[in-house]
């Protein structure tokens, strides 16, 4: 799973930044829509469902690409706890990127809501109606969203730490554009 190159592939970097925009938008839309009764509630919900499905598809695609292309090695001198945190955070990201849309879909299915996306696309229910399961999925979707946002904050802090403090090429490995000539 480790590619020989110093950077993620162009496709991996594209998926990372595209999904970063989608997921951050998604979390803001989510906390915004559940705290308003204004008319924007309706388009926010529809956008949330549509974006969620897009993220699910992108996450599965990205998982496949990760298996195929691997990831650059972490700097050899990175302390072991930081290496462990880096690996663990990647597992958490993949788990959340795939689980959150599925939990949302399951939450709507178990409440017997028709699931209609932008453009009138209808999705089938993936589970039968159930009070118990709806409550479980609702709680999981709600609380994991905050965990997801916290994970993103830690990820951003870590990325900036690599960029500004360690200057070890980890940020450049996922930077959207080609980095300038490497420092000596």
């Amino acid at each position: 799973m480790t590619s020989p190159g110093p950077r993620f592939t162009a496709l991996q970097r594209l998926l990372h930044w595209l999904m970063a925009i989608c997921i951050i938008s998604m979390l803001f839309i989510g906390v915004g829509m559940v705290s308003t009764v204004m008319p924007k509630y309706v388009p926010l919900i529809t956008t949330h469902k549509t974006l969620g499905m897009a993220i699910l598809v992108l996450a599965l695609l990205r998982l496949g690409v990760r298996f195929y292309s691997g990831a650059p090695a972490l700097p050899a001198d990175l302390p072991e706890p930081m290496k462990l945190a880096a690996r663990l955070s990647h597992y958490l990201f993949y788990a959340l990127m795939i689980a959150m849309p599925l939990l949302g879909w399951a939450m709507l299915s178990t409440a017997d809501y028709p699931i209609v996306l932008l453009g009138g696309v209808r999705l089938p229910a993936i589970l039968p109606r159930s009070d118990t399961l709806h409550t479980l999925f609702w709680a999981a979707h709600f609380y994991l969203a905050f965990a997801f946002f916290a994970l993103i904050l830690v990820h951003i802090a870590a990325a900036l730490f690599h960029l500004l403090v360690r200057r070890d090429g980890v940020f450049e490995a996922m930077a959207p554009l080609n980095p300038t000539t490497p420092r000596d």
């Binding site: 979390l27 803001f28 829509m33 308003t36 009764v37 109606r129 709806h134 409550t135 500004l164």
Partner: protein, 351 residues
């Protein structure tokens, strides 16, 4: 290839940048979530304001808590097909389920104490479209905005006798509803009531043309008015017994009318009825064929969210469907989490 310097050092500048980015992101998130805006009207605040002084009835809908289920058909005559692409308007018979209810948060409220009666309705068509609506018997809504509704709930629930007076004084638009509520024209049957959608929606016709519309169900059964005192004398659950018996004897019918706004008619204010000369189309008949106790009924687990709409109908600038959708979802999430408190009968569907 970049490599790490021998001793990475956390400079003040780097620390400040990292802290600013993280704190700024967290603050933006908190603001979006409403944590920095205690005055924001949120679905939980709106739903909590519905609760009676002793607290909400756990496991029940947070408003219109008392009700009884029905099933039947919507017989579409096809005349609505020129107004909306929804399959429900194409000539045919479509299965419906619904719920007669009282506008109260108390599932044990005596029937004679609640002026507002409602109907939740779901029409499902073979192509998978689902249309849900929740209507009431009042001809207009009491207030023009969700914020005013929240204030009304506070005024109505206040121990201060002046609270309601000052609310009415500050909200002249309440007068039409107030006049209806005080007119004394009660009936002793769910079957004798009209059910009005009140909110304006946009109908999209087959050519893509959009028109603002409201719908109503007009009962075939003639209304026999009785006094509130007489209804109270008939017992706390008279309406449910009456509708069960009446439907057992014969299906009950309502004509569905769609009224189209003229250009310029206000669509954002459900306190104002449109003038009587507006184009009105009879699009079909609701036939209620079977009554089911709520605990065993197919309506029990349905959230009659007014934004569950088929293609061919969408929300307008009327602010209520969105606010109701947000509040109904909150109510649904609460009552499903409390389902152990809801008195089920052995025949009830599993939670």
């Amino acid at each position: 290839m970049p490599h790490s310097p021998s001793s990475p050092r956390l400079t003040f500048g780097a620390a400040a940048i990292i802290a600013a980015v993280v704190a700024g992101s967290a603050a933006a998130f908190a603001y979006t979530a409403g944590w920095l805006s205690p005055q924001r009207l949120t679905p939980p605040k709106l739903v909590d304001a519905l609760a009676p002084p002793g607290g909400p009835a756990l496991g029940y809908r947070r408003n219109h808590a008392k009700g009884i289920c029905f099933t039947g058909t919507f017989e579409s005559n096809g005349k609505g097909a020129e107004l909306s692409q929804a399959q429900a308007f194409k000539a045919g018979q479509y299965p419906v389920l619904g719920r007669f209810n009282l506008g109260t948060p108390n599932p044990q409220a005596p029937d004679g104490t609640v002026r507002v009666r409602g109907m939740g309705l779901q029409i499902a068509t073979p192509n998978g479209e689902v249309w849900r609506t929740a209507m009431i018997n009042a001809p207009v809504f009491p207030v023009a905005t969700p914020e005013a509704f929240y204030q009304l709930l506070h005024a109505a629930g206040s121990k201060d006798p002046e609270a309601m007076k000052s609310f009415v004084a500050a909200h002249p638009e309440f007068a039409s509803f107030g006049a209806w509520a005080g007119d004394g024209a009660w009936t002793a049957s769910y079957a004798e009531e009209p059910y009005n959608g009140l909110n304006a929606f946009i109908f999209i016709d087959p050519s893509g043309t959009e028109r603002a519309a409201r719908w109503s169900l007009v009962p075939a059964a003639p209304a026999v008015t009785i006094t509130q005192a007489e209804l109270e004398k008939r017992g706390p659950d008279y309406l449910e017994k009456e509708i069960t018996e009446r439907v057992r004897q014969a299906p009950q019918r309502w004509t569905m009318n769609v009224v189209i706004a003229n250009p310029g008619d206000a669509t954002a204010d459900p306190t104002k009825a449109w003038p009587a000369d507006r184009r009105k189309i009879e699009v079909g008949t609701l036939v209620v064929q079977k009554i089911e106790a709520e605990a065993d009924g197919s309506c029990r687990d349905v959230n009659f969210d007014p934004t569950v709409l088929p293609p061919g109908i969408r929300v307008s600038d009327d602010p209520f469907p969105a606010a109701r959708s947000a509040a109904y979802a909150r109510s649904y999430d609460l009552r499903t989490a409390e389902s152990r408190y809801y008195p089920r009968t052995p025949a009830s569907p599993k939670p």
